[in-house]
């Protein structure tokens, strides 16, 4: 209103024809009103154009990639010392499988940088700094943008498409720690240096198939660094099927088959006399992973309420030789064959905005383990205590509060029966925040 009055005055002044303005004829008044209206429109258009022009970044760093930093901290209260954590019945993976430590500690800080490289490629780098100041490259890969017909190629280091949970970054997990199955079969989370080809079918029902070949840098392929070998040390075949049911339920199932050839994959144990032993496995390791996710939100609008059910089943067969190498005495080698499995099922429910509750049940089955050195009588089962038959279980409950999309505080309690001889009661209080670029709403 005020602006218009000024404009009217301005028009009057601009016309600088006071005697005409004084002329009270209807025609002139109408003309003046029309002119004011037009000027008003032009001024507001110009104002908006000016605002837009001024908002356009003109500096060299306008092309900076999207950067985000994840910070998290945790308080842990555990009835068992996490330093001697083990999952009985399963060969240790050498991965970061132990629960967070006692007391206050900093979780993994994660720096993610991503951007389109050009019109052919997109690049992503995710670097983590652990609480003991170790820097690691979690993911660093390029991905094609210009291939058509549903094909995408990814190359570099990335989380393998082995099941669902493995591809989710720790800060986006629904619980503080990984399912036990992911700990024993994938060393917590499997990332490999490799290349992935994926094809998405041109159907309204989502269907993809893909293949990954990798260096075999980590468990289950073998020791850190992979084999000294041309070619590849691991391969993974995966397929995903998914879609919507009605107007509020989305589902996805995935199946994958990971094949690796571990060579001298070592782990530490003690023999029947308590003497430290280094055992190593060479042979083949084949892992099936089958998983399903069901998400529900009224009208697919998760703002108020939503539910997520997630479960995965893993089965692994290993065949080859196990070498027993005590600190004193000579190395002995015999055959080794195992069939082991594990699964988890979890549900997370957001009952009001910002608040979620969740429950997870984990169960592993040590299955059958045939150790040649034990069968032949050269050694006894007591010389391989970690591989003793045991079915670990764990129950976990959590409640979390997310005041915005960028912060979350979580309380988690768990009863962990990973050790055959002790129950670990755990309480974790954790915060996870994200700074910078907006995160992705991955399904």
């Amino acid at each position: 209103m005020f602006e218009k009055a000024i404009l009217a005055l301005a028009v009057a002044a601009a016309l600088s024809l006071p005697h005409e303005a004084q002329a009270q004829t209807q025609d002139e008044l109408r003309d003046l009103k029309e002119q004011v209206k037009q000027l008003d429109r032009r001024v507001s258009d110009a104002e908006q154009a000016a605002v837009q022009a001024s908002s356009r970044p003109a500096s060299e760093n306008a092309l900076n990639p999207a950067v985000s930093l994840i910070l998290n901290g945790i308080y842990g209260n555990l009835s068992q010392d996490p330093a001697n954590f083990r999952i009985n019945g399963f060969a240790p993976t050498g991965g970061e499988v132990a629960p967070p430590g006692r007391g206050l500690s900093l979780g993994e800080s994660e720096l993610a940088i991503a951007s389109n490289i050009d019109h052919y490629f997109r690049g992503t780098g995710i670097f983590s700094v652990s609480s003991d100041n170790q820097i690691a490259v979690e993911e660093a890969y390029i991905q094609t943008l210009a291939l058509s017909n549903g094909f995408t190629i990814k190359a570099g280091r990335f989380f393998s498409s082995v099941g669902y949970q493995n591809q989710v970054h720790a800060h986006a997990w629904d619980f503080t720690d990984a399912p036990l199955a992911n700990k024993v079969f994938l060393g917590n989370q499997l990332s490999d240096d490799g290349i992935q080809l994926k094809w998405v079918a041109p159907t309204p029902l989502y269907f993809d198939i893909g293949i990954e070949v990798g260096r075999g840098r980590n468990f289950p392929a073998g020791p850190q660094g992979g084999r000294d070998k041309n070619g590849f040390g691991s391969s993974n075949f995966f397929t995903t099927l998914g879609g919507d049911l009605g107007t509020g339920t989305a589902w996805q199932t995935s199946l994958s088959y990971l094949t690796t050839s571990p060579q001298d994959r070592t782990y530490e144990d003690v023999d029947s006399t308590g003497t430290p032993v280094t055992n190593s496995f060479s042979g083949t390791s084949k892992l099936w992973a089958f998983g399903g996710i069901l998400k529900w939100a009224p009208n697919f609008n998760p703002t108020e309420k939503n539910l997520k059910l997630q479960g995965e089943y893993f089965q692994r067969r290993e065949n080859g030789n196990l070498a027993f190498d005590p600190a004193v005495g000579g190395t002995q080698t015999g055959g080794y064959a195992s069939t082991q499995s594990g699964w988890y099922l979890q549900g997370v429910y957001q009952f009001i905005p910002m608040w979620r509750v969740g429950y997870r049940y984990d169960r592993l089955s040590a299955g059958t383990i045939n150790i040649g050195l034990v069968d032949s009588g050269a050694l006894t089962a007591a010389d391989f205590p970690i591989l003793s038959a045991y079915n670990p279980t764990r129950q976990t409950g959590m409640v979390d509060w997310s005041p915005s999309e960028f912060s979350r505080v979580r309380l988690q309690v768990a009863q962990d029966k990973s050790r055959s001889d002790a129950t670990d009661n755990q309480v974790f209080l954790q915060y996870i925040v994200s700074l910078g670029a907006h995160g992705a709403h991955k399904f």
Binding site: V51, V200, K295, F443
Partner: protein, 301 residues
């Protein structure tokens, strides 16, 4: 391993050999652009909208069904200005579809073609989930729809030159009807000028700007942050001192906060269709604006 690769390639080729669908596949992030594409495309296009008027477009997840649809799209229309920042980039990288990537004719970000409101002077997350490019809900001003329609007309002709004549003639017809409708709405909405309004989210800023209404508060304490009891209590005090004439929430918002304030302040509340499909009457773009104006006029009478 070789055999698996061959099998995958063979399966892929077999499916590719299927006859291509006759119509141009248009993937839109929001229903208003779907409705617009349908107006201009007619039977030459097959339109899929990733969201409905019952969904908050900020909060969508990159569901498998959306990836499946974007994979076969020939043209993508989204509001942009970071409205879909949480899910569209994921869909694009997962799509394996080069036709609708950023920088191609198949990628249309509607908000790039209109003057935006509420471009923040200060960009900081402490201010809520703000959009550095300005308010992305540009479709609530019919003049913006006309601007986007002109761009869409050209894009359709560009990605599907064979049907260019049809797109041009349909666009001409639509724009003529649209300008008439705008003139009519201008008259109908005249009583709304200067009316103080409380919004749930800044979803109707462009509508408010167009009709000359006056937004005095939002139920959200900050953009994208759900209403809190303390903020609602403050609003109640504000309404007692300077009452607004109407409280609005959109078809995807929970009505609870609006109800709370409306009951205590005795200010009428009304649900507005956020976009096409938000109410029974908002069947198309014309019905959308008819219903918005009608509902507001009914409430402030």
């Amino acid at each position: 391993m070789n055999s698996i690769l061959k099998l995958a390639a063979a399966a892929g080729l077999a499916l590719l050999a299927l006859p291509a669908a006759a119509a141009l596949n248009v993937f839109t992030c929001e229903p208003e652009w779907g409705a617009l594409a349908q107006e201009l495309g007619g039977d030459k296009v097959s339109v899929y909208s990733a969201t409905t008027a019952l969904q908050d477009p900020h909060r969508i997840e990159a569901r498998p069904s959306l990836i499946a649809r974007i994979r076969s799209a020939d043209l993508l229309i989204c509001s942009g200005s970071e409205l879909e920042i949480g899910w569209l980039p994921l869909l694009l990288t997962q799509s394996g579809n080069s036709k609708i990537q950023l920088g191609t004719p198949g990628y249309l970000e509607a908000s790039q073609y209109v003057a935006k409101l509420e471009i923040p002077k200060v960009i900081d997350r402490a201010l809520g989930d703000i959009h550095p490019g300005g308010n992305p809900h540009i479709h609530t001003d019919p003049r913006n729809i006309a601007k986007v329609a002109a761009v869409l007309e050209e894009r359709l002709a560009q990605v599907d030159p064979g049907n260019a004549a049809s797109y041009h003639s349909r666009a001409k017809s639509f724009l003529a009807r649209w300008q008439e409708a705008i003139a009519r709405w201008d008259k109908e909405a005249a009583p709304l000028k200067g009316v103080p309004i409380v919004e749930h989210h800044k979803a109707f800023s462009y509508f408010i700007n167009w009709t000359g209404m006056h937004e005095v508060a939002t139920l959200e304490p900050k953009p994208g942050i759900p209403p809190t009891p303390s903020h609602l209590a403050e609003l109640l005090d504000q309404m007692k001192a300077q009452p607004a004439k109407v409280i609005v929430y959109s078809s995807y918002d929970s009505p609870q906060a609006a109800q709370f304030l409306s009951e205590r302040s005795k200010i009428p509340m009304v649900m507005l269709p956020f976009t096409v499909g938000g109410t029974d009457k908002a069947k198309d773009l014309f019905g959308f604006f008819d219903d918005m104006i009608g509902r507001l006029l009914g409430a402030v009478k």
